[in-house]
Amino acid sequence: MSTIAHTQKRGFAGTVWEYLTTVDHKKIAILYLLAGGFFFIVGGIEAMMIRIQLAVPNNDFVSAGLFNEIITMHGTTMIFLAAMPLLFAFMNAVMPLQIGARDVAFPFINALGFWLFFFGGLFLNLSWFLGGAPDAGWTSYASLSLASEGHGIDFYALGLQISGFGTLMGGINFLVTIINMRAPGMTYMRMPLFTWTTFVASALILFAFPPLTVGLFMLIFDRMFGSGFFDVAMGGNTIIWEHFFWIFGHPEVYILVLPAFGIFSEIFPTFARKRLFGYSSMVFATVLIGFLGFMVWAHHMFTTGLGPIANAIFAVATMAIAVPTGIKIFNWILTIWGGSIKFTVPMLYAVAFIPSFVMGGVTGVMQAAAPADYQFHDSYFIVAHFHYVIVGGIVLGLLGGAHFYWPLMFGTMLSEKLGKVTFVLFLIGFHLTFFIQHFLGLMGMPRRVWTFLPGQGLDSGNLISSIGAAFMAVGVIIFLVNVVITQVKNVQVGRDPWEDGRTLEWSLPSPTPYYNFKQLPLVRGLDPYWIEKMEGKTEMTPAEPVGDIHMPNNSFVPFVISLGLFIAAFGAMYHADEGKDWAIPVLIIGMIVTFGAMLYRSIKDDHGYHIHKEELLDESGKGGAV
C-alpha cells in the first residue's frame, strides 16, 4: 500500500514481472503494441511468401496445401492478431488521456483482455509447429472447414475464441471508461474524434463478437464434440456459419477502420493547425457508419443464393454507407483547406490515406451492386478492394499513428527522415501491389489460387504485384530500424513534442506520470489544450486541488485466467484423437485454473492504494518519474 514499488529501479526480471502483472493502461498499450507488432511481422512474412509463390507462373516455392495454410494464417493473423491489437494499443495509450482520466474503468479487466488476446494468438500460431495451420481461409466456411483434416481448424476455432473473449472485455472497458471517467467539462460533444471512434468501435465489438463466439462454439462442437450444426447429413445447415461469420465480420471492418479514421482526425487538425472541419457531422457520420455496419453483412453472400429481394436490400444498405464515409472524406479535405500545413510523417500518411482509401471505397460501391458482384466474387478484384481499405485505411493509420503517438508512449521521437523513407517505399509498394490486382481479378484470376499458367495474361501483373510487396517489406524493415535507433539513442522529448498538440494527452509532462493527471483538468471546449495555449498558458487549468489519488494494485490473476483457457484448449482439441486419454483431464484442469483464478479474484479484496498528496507535491519538480 505504498508507492515504493514505483520509485525503485528495477532489474530485468523486475521489469518483466511488472509487465506480467501491470494494470496500467499505458503499459498495457505497450504490451499490445509489442504483441500486435510481432504478429504483424508474422503476417507480413506470410504475405511475402504468398507473393513469392505468385510472382511467376507454375511456381512451386510452396506446396498447394502449405499455400492454403499461409493465406488462411495471413488473413487471420492480420485481422485478429495484428490490426486489432495495434489499434487497441493506441486506444489504451491515448483515449484515457484524451478524456482526462487517471485510469480506465476496469484496469484489471483491461489486463485480462490483453492476456486473453495474447494466449489466443499464441495458441493459433502454435498450429505451425503442431501438425499444420488452418487451411480453410480466414472466413473458414463450414463445409470446407469441417472437411479439413488434422487440427488446423481446431487451432483456428479455439484460438479465436480465446482472443475474442479478450477483445469483448476490452470493448466493454472502453465503453464504460468513456461514459464514466471523463474530466470535468469534457462533454460528449467535446470529446476528440479518436475517443468517439473508440467509443463506437467498442460498441460494435460488444454486439458483433457474440455472434462470432456462437459460430466458433458451433464449429468447435461440430469438429470436436460430434454435434451437427453444419453437417447436412445430420440435418444441419452450413449457411448458418456464413451468416454468423459475416454478422460479426462486417462490423469487424468498421471496428478496425473507425479508430483509424479517428487517428487521422487527430493528425489533420494538428498539422493543418486548424480545428477539425465539421466536428459534429464527423461524430454523426461515425455513429451512422457504426449503425449501418450491422445491416450489410449479406453483401458478402450475394452469390450464396439468398434471393433477389434480400440481395437488393443489402445492396442498397451497403451503398448507403458511402454517404457518411463521404462526409468524413470531405471534412478531412476541408480541414486541410486553408490551414498552415506542416508535412510531418504522420501528416504524410494522413494525406496519402485520403485518395488510397477513396479508391477502396469506390470499388466497394461497385461490389455493392449485386449483379456486378457475381462477376467480382472470389476474384482478385475482391482481394484488391479489401487490401485498399485495410492497407490504405488501417495500416496507413497505424503507421501514421505510430509516428504521431510515439512520443506520447515512449517519450522519444521517431526519425522524420527515416519515417519519410518508409512512407515513400510503403506507399509506392502498396499501390504497386494492389492496384494491378483489380485488373488481374477482372481478367479472371481467382482469389486464393495457388498458382497460374503462363500465357494467360496474368504473368506481368503478378510480377509487378510481387515487386510492390517487396517495396512494402523494405519500408517496414526501415521502420523497424527507425524504432531501434530511436530507442537506443533514447533522446527524451518534453511536453507537446509536435508543438501543435490540441487535445489533453499533449498537455501532460513527458513521460506521462503513472497517475496521468495530478489534478484533473478543466475542459473548456473542443481541443482544450489548444484553448489554453491560445491564452498563453502551458498547462491545463486544474479542476480540483491536489489531493490523494486512488490507484489499482498490480495483479498476476489476468495472466493465470488466460493461461487456464490456453491449457484447456489443448484438452478440447486432442480429446477426439485415438489414444489421447490425457486430453479430457487437461481440459478440466485448464478450466479449474481459469475458474479458480476468477474465484480467487472474487473473494480476495483488492482495494488498491492511495498516492498521498504530500508525495504528489514532492514529485512536482521531477516530472513524475515512474
Binding site: A105, I109, I172, F221, F229, A233, G235, I240, S602
Partner: protein, 209 residues
C-alpha cells in the same frame, strides 16, 4: 477508505451499488455485458429456430414428441420465483439488513438448484427415452446448446451467489461488496428473462408444432 467504512441503516446510502466510482463502473459495465449476452442468446435462438426439427430421418424424435408442459411449467415457476426472491434480497440489501438479504439469497439458491435438478432430469429423460442426443441430429445439437448454455449460466450464477454469501457471511455489507451482490442478482434476472424466451420459443412453440 470509503469502501471499508462501517454503516448503520441510517447512514447507508440509497443506492449502495452505485455509491462509489467502482460501483458505478461495474453497474454500467455489467449492463453492457448483459447487452452482449443478449446478442449471444439471440444467435443461439436463431440457430435453434433454423434447425428445429431438422433431423436426418423420421425415426428421430421431434419437438412435438419430446416436450411435456407440466415439468417445464414447474421449472418456469421455480425460476420466476427465484427471481422474485432475489428482488427481496436486494430490497434488504438497500435497507442494510444483511441477515435478511442472506436468507432471501439462500432461498434463491435453493430454488435455482431445484430448477437445475429438473433440467438434469429432463435432459436425462430425452436422452434415454427418446434417443434425443447432442450428437444425434442438428436439432439435438441446437436444442442442447441453447438450453444447455442457459443451464450453464444458471450454474455460474448459483456458484457466484454462493461464493458471495460465504465470503461475506462474517463481515456484512460494505460499499465494496454491495455492487457485487447487486450484479449477481442482475445476472440472475437476466437468466430468468432468457428462460422466459426459452419457455416460449422452445417449449410452447414446440408443443404447437
Amino acid at each position: 477508505m470509503a469502501a471499508e467504512q462501517k454503516f448503520t441503516p441510517q447512514t447507508w446510502p440509497e443506492s449502495p451499488e452505485q455509491a462509489t466510482l467502482e460501483g458505478k463502473n461495474k453497474f454500467l459495465g455489467f449492463w453492457f455485458f448483459l447487452g452482449g449476452e443478449t446478442v449471444l442468446f439471440a444467435s443461439l435462438f436463431a440457430t435453434y429456430l433454423a434447425l428445429k426439427d431438422s433431423v436426418p430421418s423420421d425415426t428421430h424424435a421431434k419437438a412435438a414428441d419430446l416436450f411435456e408442459l407440466p415439468l417445464v411449467f414447474l421449472m418456469t415457476m421455480l425460476l420466476l420465483t427465484s427471481s422474485l426472491t432475489s428482488v427481496f434480497a436486494m430490497y434488504h440489501m438497500k435497507n442494510y439488513n444483511f441477515k435478511k438479504m442472506q436468507q432471501w439469497l439462500f432461498i434463491t439458491v435453493a430454488l435455482g438448484l431445484g430448477f437445475l435438478g429438473c433440467e438434469i432430469y429432463e435432459f436425462n429423460h430425452y436422452y434415454h427415452e427418446f434417443e434425443h442426443k447432442f450428437t444425434s441430429s442438428a436439432f439435438g445439437s441446437a436444442f442442447y446448446t441453447l438450453v444447455g448454455f442457459h443451464g450453464g449460466h444458471v450454474v455460474f450464477g448459483l456458484s457466484w451467489i454462493i461464493a458471495l454469501m460465504i465470503r461475506n457471511a462474517k463481515r456484512g455489507l460494505t460499499l465494496y461488496n454491495a455492487p457485487k451482490f447487486y450484479l449477481a442478482s442482475l445476472y440472475w434476472h437476466f437468466i430468468d428473462v432468457v428462460w422466459v424466451f426459452i419457455f416460449t420459443v422452445v417449449y410452447l412453440m414446440g408443443m404447437v408444432g
